[in-house]
């Protein structure tokens, strides 16, 4: 019996020939990360345990991104904790405002997570790195503290659901629409404790930016990890930037899967997930005429250059509707610069959208775009839970950058095809 790509990566890091789903293993971690919300607790656990040094100062990144630029005194204190710890332990990858980005956009861009890695992050969207063919999963701060000390972590080997995407994408359909549709099909616990392996010719044709969006939202179906086997798109992306050697794995033809789910992408319309669950996905033209107050284009899910180009394509020569605030947040400094150099900022400014420095800010209702009671936003983010972007009586609708930008222009939820 063969192994899946997730099983192969885990076996190699457990220093074993093979592993099987359900098995409890301890694995070597290639790279670990935490942010300004989760690192303070991890640092506290680390210090209280009496630990003196981190397992490898080149393999631990601290990225203040959630409440930065510092939102208030409390968040300034949290960020200072990270800064001081990074200095004290000589961490090579501490990313300060002006040099940073949203962690899950930044680390792949900087070549810090590479194919074949085991990556553990104190942030649930760590699963994003599965897009480059790594086994990557989110953990809490205490698990991360143990990794900071030992460089190892225990896992129960997950079984895998294989998704096979075939067919040709319709106009304006993106990786975001595929993952929203998928979560809509299987539900928010459809992949609980399991690996989601995204395969098929339609995934093969997606760019790395769109693959990162898909793997990013595996957690929204409850998955331990989402993963896409490396191909030429991966190699081209990785070759330019990898700071460590990549190891390329793929699933064996006789690997064993819990389920194989075929998806004909040619039937999928641009999707919107209505409140208050990412699984409430439906075609945009079935949502109805729902007026909106805010649009957010950004986040670890959809703040990459291709996302911004898509938004600009829709906004070009148009204006954000009266009564709507449109916030555009490039996910990293490099993306920010590239968007500026490509002239996308001119398009955004002419459309009367606001452009922000990289931050997670509004995605988690932290700062930089909080909703009042009764307000409604369309966002390219990943969660539309109660109170996610502000007041518990506000609402978030999840979509692709194309649908979000079109909605900003229309002043209600709608599709670019309507413009």
């Amino acid at each position: 019996m063969g192994m899946t790509i997730s099983e192969k990566i885990l076996a190699a890091h457990a220093r074993k020939d093979r592993v099987v789903p359900g098995e409890l293993i301890e694995v070597d971690v290639d790279f670990a990360l935490a942010n300004d919300i989760t690192a303070p607790i991890a640092i506290d656990r680390f210090r209280r345990a009496g630990a003196k040094k981190v397992f490898d100062p080149e393999r631990l990144a601290l990225v203040p991104d959630h409440f930065v630029p510092n939102k208030d005194i409390d968040s300034a204190i949290q960020c200072k904790l990270l800064r001081d710890f990074a200095r004290e332990h000589g961490l090579r990858y501490y990313f300060e405002v002006g040099r940073m980005g949203i962690e899950h956009a930044l680390l792949p861009e900087q070549g810090l997570v590479v194919p074949g890695d085991v990556v553990v992050g104190a942030d649930s969207h760590t699963c994003t790195y599965g897009a480059v063919g790594a086994f990557a999963t989110g953990v809490g701060s205490t698990d991360l503290a143990a990794v900071m000390i030992t460089g190892r972590i225990w896992f129960r080997v997950p079984s895998t659901i294989k998704f096979v995407y075939e067919g040709e994408l319709r106009p304006w359909v993106t990786g975001k629409d595929l993952i929203l549709y998928t979560i809509g099909q299987i539900g928010v616990e459809g992949a609980r404790y399991r690996a989601m392996e995204f395969t098929g010719s339609a995934v093969g044709e997606l760019s790395m930016d769109q693959r990162l969006t898909m793997a990013n939202m595996a957690i929204e179906a409850g998955a331990k990890n989402g993963i896409i086997a490396p191909d030429m798109v991966t190699r081209v992306y990785v070759d330019d930037r990898a700071r460590r050697p990549a190891r390329y794995y793929e699933s064996d033809p006789d690997a064993s899967y819990d389920e194989v789910i075929p998806i004909d992408v040619s039937t999928i319309e641009p999707q919107v997930a209505v409140p208050h669950s990412p699984a409430n996905a439906r075609p945009v033209n079935e949502v109805g005429r729902i007026p909106i107050h805010q649009v957010v284009i950004g986040s670890c899910t959809n703040g990459r250059i291709e996302d911004l180009r898509l938004a600009a394509e829709v906004l070009k020569g148009r204006r954000v509707a009266p009564g709507v605030r449109c916030l555009i947040i490039p996910a990293t400094q490099a993306i920010y610069r590239q968007a500026m150099e490509e002239g996308l900022f001119t398009t955004f400014l002419e459309a009367e959208a606001a452009i922000s420095t990289p931050t997670c800010g509004p995605c988690l209702g932290g700062h930089m775009g909080i909703l009042a009671p009764g307000e409604r936003a369309v966002a390219t983010t990943n969660r539309n839970f109660v109170g996610r972007m502000g007041h518990p009586q506000s609402e978030v609708y999840l979509s692709s950058p194309a649908v979000a930008a079109a909605s900003a222009v229309l002043g209600r939820i709608g599709s670019p095809a309507e413009l």
């Binding site: 301890e26 209280r48 345990a49 208030d72 809490g140 225990w154 928010v188 609980r192 932290g366 839970f385």
Partner: protein, 173 residues
């Protein structure tokens, strides 16, 4: 260990933003977090809950973010145990790592009502509903998780192993 307290019932897919909204995550102080525990599901919860009470919920409790502030807030609010039909995986790990007892019992999740007096035997997983005069059997806690609980959580477990000659490295559990 036997836990006894009143049940507070919640539905399915209770996410970490309901347990502790992100707007309060600019601190990790347990007392500060406890004041806002379950706020967006029941704004009065933190004021009503008494030390030793239990949370009972449906499937996928703790889904969403990896924030450890969620089990910290629950524990600091005085909740002695969470019983759910099932748990999201990061919350599951976090709870054991912190020493917050959790039990999986779809039966209890279905039958228990807010206000029911419950008695939970953590060693056997037997949940007694004193108000309804019924018992439910929770899923057994896996042996490795029992080891973690016995050690007092993940950090003491790791440090004990490191002190014992660094067996952590190279040894598969």
């Amino acid at each position: 260990m036997i836990l006894k307290g009143k049940a507070w019932k919640f539905g399915a897919d209770v996410d970490t933003d309901l347990i502790i909204p992100a707007r309060y995550l600019n601190t990790s102080d347990p007392k500060g977090l406890a004041k806002h525990c379950m706020e967006d599901a029941d704004p009065a919860f933190a004021g009503k809950v008494s030390s030793g009470d239990l949370i009972v919920a449906g499937n996928n409790f703790g889904c969403g973010s990896s924030r450890e502030h969620a089990p910290i807030a629950i524990k600091a609010a005085g909740v002695s145990c969470v019983v759910a039909a099932s748990f999201a995986r990061i919350f599951y790990r976090n709870a054991f790592n912190l020493g917050l007892p959790i039990l999986e019992s779809p039966e209890a999740a279905e039958a228990v009502k807010t206000g029911d007096e419950l008695e939970v035997d953590l060693a056997t997983g037997k949940i007694t509903n004193l108000s309804q005069d019924r018992t439910y059997q929770a899923q057994p806690v896996p042996p490795f998780m029992q080891e973690l609980l016995a050690a007092g959580g993940l950090m003491p477990y790791v440090m004990k192993r490191l002190a014992g000659g660094g067996e952590w490295h190279g040894k598969v559990l």
